[in-house]
């Protein structure tokens, strides 16, 4: 665990840890030496700071950069979590036809809520973990359910006539979305060195410039009502239900919104967890 995480009160560490193990994916079940394995309980609302939706991914704990940095560094010893949160950010990986990906998401809303014990599990720990995982995922499912056929939304950037599409369901928080967009629009070459072997957290975890106001661009979205809003204000799940498309806007055109970002960022950094 990095020194950053250990600077928080022990209680907070535990809470973050729980969030990570439960959100870290069933991949961790198979890996040996999962550090959080003994924490067996169902997560409740009080595990999360108010206003954030439960998500499958560890970093759903907060789009707030301060908390997130700790969460990510705490994730490093855990094999499953590192690999699973890394995978979701790569364009076109895993190689599944877009049609099938979108189908999976749409079908999540009609999946039986009452699940049988999973055959693959071979110990009580595993089964409980799966129950928790699904419980945790429930909120995301609801968000998806409400949105209907959400999957890929258009992203345009000021100055570029050709837009992109990004799969919002591949993300469980603003940070990974912003990082993916930065890779798409600002960093044309994806070097393979960003993928260390599993278990090592080599992936760059710089906070996204698009979200913290330090770039000349800000990330905005058009909501159901047709209004253009700044990305990051509402909980991720709520965002999923209202977003129609994204736009990377020049800060200068964002009419004084950027300073607000800066201010918000600083405010959260000083906030105790």
């Amino acid at each position: 665990m990095s020194s950053e995480a250990s600077s928080y009160p022990k209680e907070a560490e535990l809470e973050l840890g729980l969030g990570l193990s439960l959100g870290g994916g069933s991949g961790s079940v198979k890996s040996k030496g999962c550090p959080w394995g003994e924490y067996d309980r169902i997560m409740t609302a009080k595990d999360f700071p108010a206003g954030f939706s439960r998500g499958a991914n560890a970093s759903a704990v907060g789009a707030v950069s301060g908390t997130k940095r700790a969460a990510e560094s705490a994730a490093s010893p855990e094999v499953g979590s590192a690999s699973s949160s890394g995978v979701s950010q790569v364009v076109g990986w895993p190689p599944i036809r877009a049609y099938r990906m979108n189908s999976l998401v749409n079908q999540a809303k009609t999946t039986n809520a009452e699940e049988d014990k999973v055959i693959g599990g071979n110990d009580k720990n595993n089964d409980t973990l799966h129950k928790k995982v699904n419980h945790g995922k429930g909120k995301t499912d609801t968000a998806v359910k409400e949105k209907g056929h959400l999957g890929f939304v258009k992203v345009n950037m000021d100055g570029l006539p050709i837009g992109r599409k990004v799969d919002l369901n591949a993300h469980a928080c603003y940070e990974t979305l912003a990082q993916t967009l930065e890779e798409m629009f600002f960093r044309p070459t994806t070097t393979i060195s960003s993928f260390g072997s599993s278990g090592e957290k080599e992936r760059a975890t710089q906070p996204s410039k698009l979200l913290d106001g330090s770039s000349e661009f800000v990330l905005t979205y058009e909501d159901k009502d047709g209004d253009w809003m700044l990305v990051g204000d509402v909980p991720w799940g709520m965002f999923l239900t209202t977003v129609k498309r994204l736009r990377i806007m020049r800060t200068s055109e964002a009419n004084g919104l950027a300073p607000r970002f800066q201010e918000r960022n600083e405010r959260h950094k000083s906030k105790p967890i």
Binding site: S31, S84, Q107, E115, V118
Partner: protein, 573 residues
């Protein structure tokens, strides 16, 4: 040989069904060429930009069946921007103008507009079969045109297409006089169909053998349909939700009992597991089962279903089956030849993952396995070596480890040896997809052993140009090579440029290839189209810096030069 009357030659050639054989025959001598030319019935074009429709028609004036593939394979995974190309309209237009007697059209990864479908439906009186796989650009209005106008339609098969629903009752457009349907697959459509029309259609098409319904068709409609079509061989169930104690469910069970010909089962797009026992009877004879869109079937229900499928040859399943479930498959399905295990949830969290254990169990229990697509969380060299030993007959082996650079978790080594064992043991391997931590060594093995390899997919693998060179030098039959995020550069690209004319296509994205390398290649090989996809306008500066790395390059051999429908962001060098 020259004294054989042409009719005899033609009759003999009728027995040659493979394209390769027919191509070979046409090279023997001029008269064979001519006979073959006019008797060629079916044409396969693996890359729609390799030739133009006009030249095709000139070469084979009497073909009746056409298969066309458009976008590169990686377009399936959103690596190719929209509007890249692959439009079918010019083909349909040219065939219509030239009076081609088109009867069958099969398209994969192409852009199909409603106008195309409309033109198709009105231009070819004998049109019988339309198969669309992974296509886009059309709506249910286009389907309505096909239904309305194709009087002798036998087959309408839609597989995994993105179709916009215009709520126009397309299915009701089949006229009452339409009784010729043999195959109808609309499982990928998102909207509703008129159930009464569907029932009537099924009732009057007594030759209907293959029917795949979408999620809009509920269980009670299914029951009525099965009563009308007990001769079905291939059934795709849409919605399978009902009260198992109801009259309807009881009627369904009776109807199913009369369907003794069903050999292929799929769908279950919505499912109430307590209703599954009604299909156990079908399972006894089923040889092909596709549950990859049925996340609602899992756990003990899934196992019970599988345990009835003793004759299974082909299984497509989600990874929620788990390693233990695969163990059940291994002990039940001794005739298994093809297995595909898809991830049930891709965003890091799954219900139950499969690992190397499941695959090893399958290989031990199912020695006839020759085709595999396996998404898993991890793989070991030991497991792959065991699989290679148990199953030496793979012709298709595609492994996808969800973390693309994950090593063997037990030894922490790359998976070179494991894949090496696979290529060495399966001498007839034609298609291979790699994943996991891989060095140049795996490519050395592939170059050395994979003599029949035709298609290779590489992602996040290799250390240097040597890797790619091993493959290009070693795999003599290579036709399609697609590479992403691997450190292969100009050295590898330019060493043997002649090779690319013997291949269908090469895709390289996020590699080390630069603009200069691509330009050099394009200059040396005029019969290749070297296309750069320039999305972010990184190459905007004029003249663009040749040392810049190219984000996406797609090159392919062609007889007709640069294509004229390329969008602005595609540069043909």
């Amino acid at each position: 040989m020259n004294y054989f009357p042409e009719e005899v030659l033609e009759h003999v050639f009728d027995f040659l069904t493979s394209h390769r054989d027919r191509n070979a025959v046409s090279l023997v001598c001029k008269s064979w060429y001519m006979v073959e030319k006019f008797s060629r019935d079916s044409v396969f074009i693996g890359n729609c930009y390799a030739i133009s429709p006009e030249r095709l028609i000139e070469r084979f004036p009497r073909f009746r069946s056409l298969t066309l593939k458009g976008k590169p394979h990686f377009a399936d995974f959103n690596l190719v921007p929209n509007d890249w190309g692959g439009f079918v309209y010019p083909w349909i237009e040219a065939m219509a103008i030239s009076g081609v007697n088109l009867e069958e059209l099969k398209l994969k990864r192409m852009v199909v507009s409603d106008e195309s479908l409309d033109l198709l439906s009105r231009s070819f009186v004998n049109f019988k079969s339309l198969i669309l796989v992974s296509c886009e650009g059309f709506t249910t209005d286009g389907l309505a045109a096909i239904a309305s106008n194709c009087r002798f339609l036998r087959e309408l098969d839609l597989q995994e297409n993105e179709v916009e629903d215009h709520k126009g009752q397309w299915l009701s457009c089949f006229p009452d006089s339409c009784t010729s349907l043999v195959s109808l697959n609309f499982a990928c459509l998102k909207g509703e169909v008129n159930l009464a029309s569907l029932e009537r259609l099924v009732a009057r098409c007594c030759n209907l053998k293959s029917l795949s319904l979408n999620h809009g068709v509920p269980l009670d409609a299914l029951q009525k349909i099965l009563v009308q079509a007990p001769q079905l061989v291939d059934l795709g169930i849409g919605s399978y939700v009902h009260d198992p104690d109801s009259e309807t469910y009881h009627k369904l069970k009776c109807a199913i009992q009369k369907c003794t010909s069903i050999r292929s089962l799929s769908g279950f797009l919505d499912v109430a597991p307590p209703c599954l026992p009604a299909v156990y009877q079908i399972c006894l004879n089923v040889t092909s089962l596709n549950l990859s869109y049925a996340p609602g079937i899992h756990g003990t229900e899934l196992i019970k279903l599988i345990q009835h499928c003793r004759k299974l040859q082909r299984l497509w399943i989600l990874d929620c089956i788990g390693d233990k479930g695969l163990g059940v498959v291994a002990s039940t399905c001794k005739e298994l030849q093809e297995l595909r295990v898809f991830p049930s949830y891709v965003f890091g969290v799954g219900r139950a993952a499969v690992t190397e254990e499941g695959l090893v169990a399958i290989s031990a229990g199912c020695p006839k396995l020759h085709s595999l697509l396996y998404f898993c969380h991890q793989m070991t060299n030991a497991a792959l070596i065991a699989v290679a030993k148990n199953c030496p007959n793979f012709y298709r082996f595609r492994l996808c480890i969800l973390d693309p650079t994950k090593p063997d978790p037990v030894t922490m080594e790359p998976l070179d040896e494991g894949f090496g064992a696979i290529v060495q043991s399966s001498k007839s391997l034609r298609r291979l997809s790699l994943s996991g931590l891989l060095t140049d060594r795996v490519f050395l093995y592939i170059g050395m052993y994979a003599e029949q390899l035709e298609m290779l997919s590489i992602a996040f693998a290799g250390d240097s140009d040597k890797g790619m060179l091993y493959v290009l030098n070693g795999c003599k039959k290579l036709k399609k090579l697609e590479i992403r995020d691997s450190p292969f550069g100009n050295g590898a690209l330019l060493t043997d440029v002649g090779k690319y004319e013997a291949m269908r296509s090469l895709w390289m994205s996020s590699c080390e290839v630069t603009l200069e390398g691509c330009k050099t290649l394009a200059k040396k090989m005029p019969r290749l189209n070297v296309e750069i996809i320039n999305e972010k306008q990184q190459l905007e500066a004029s003249p663009p810096d040749d040392r810049q790395k190219v984000e996406k390059m797609y090159l392919y051999r062609t007889l007709v030069g640069p294509r004229r429908d390329a969008p602005d962001f595609v540069w043909t060098l």
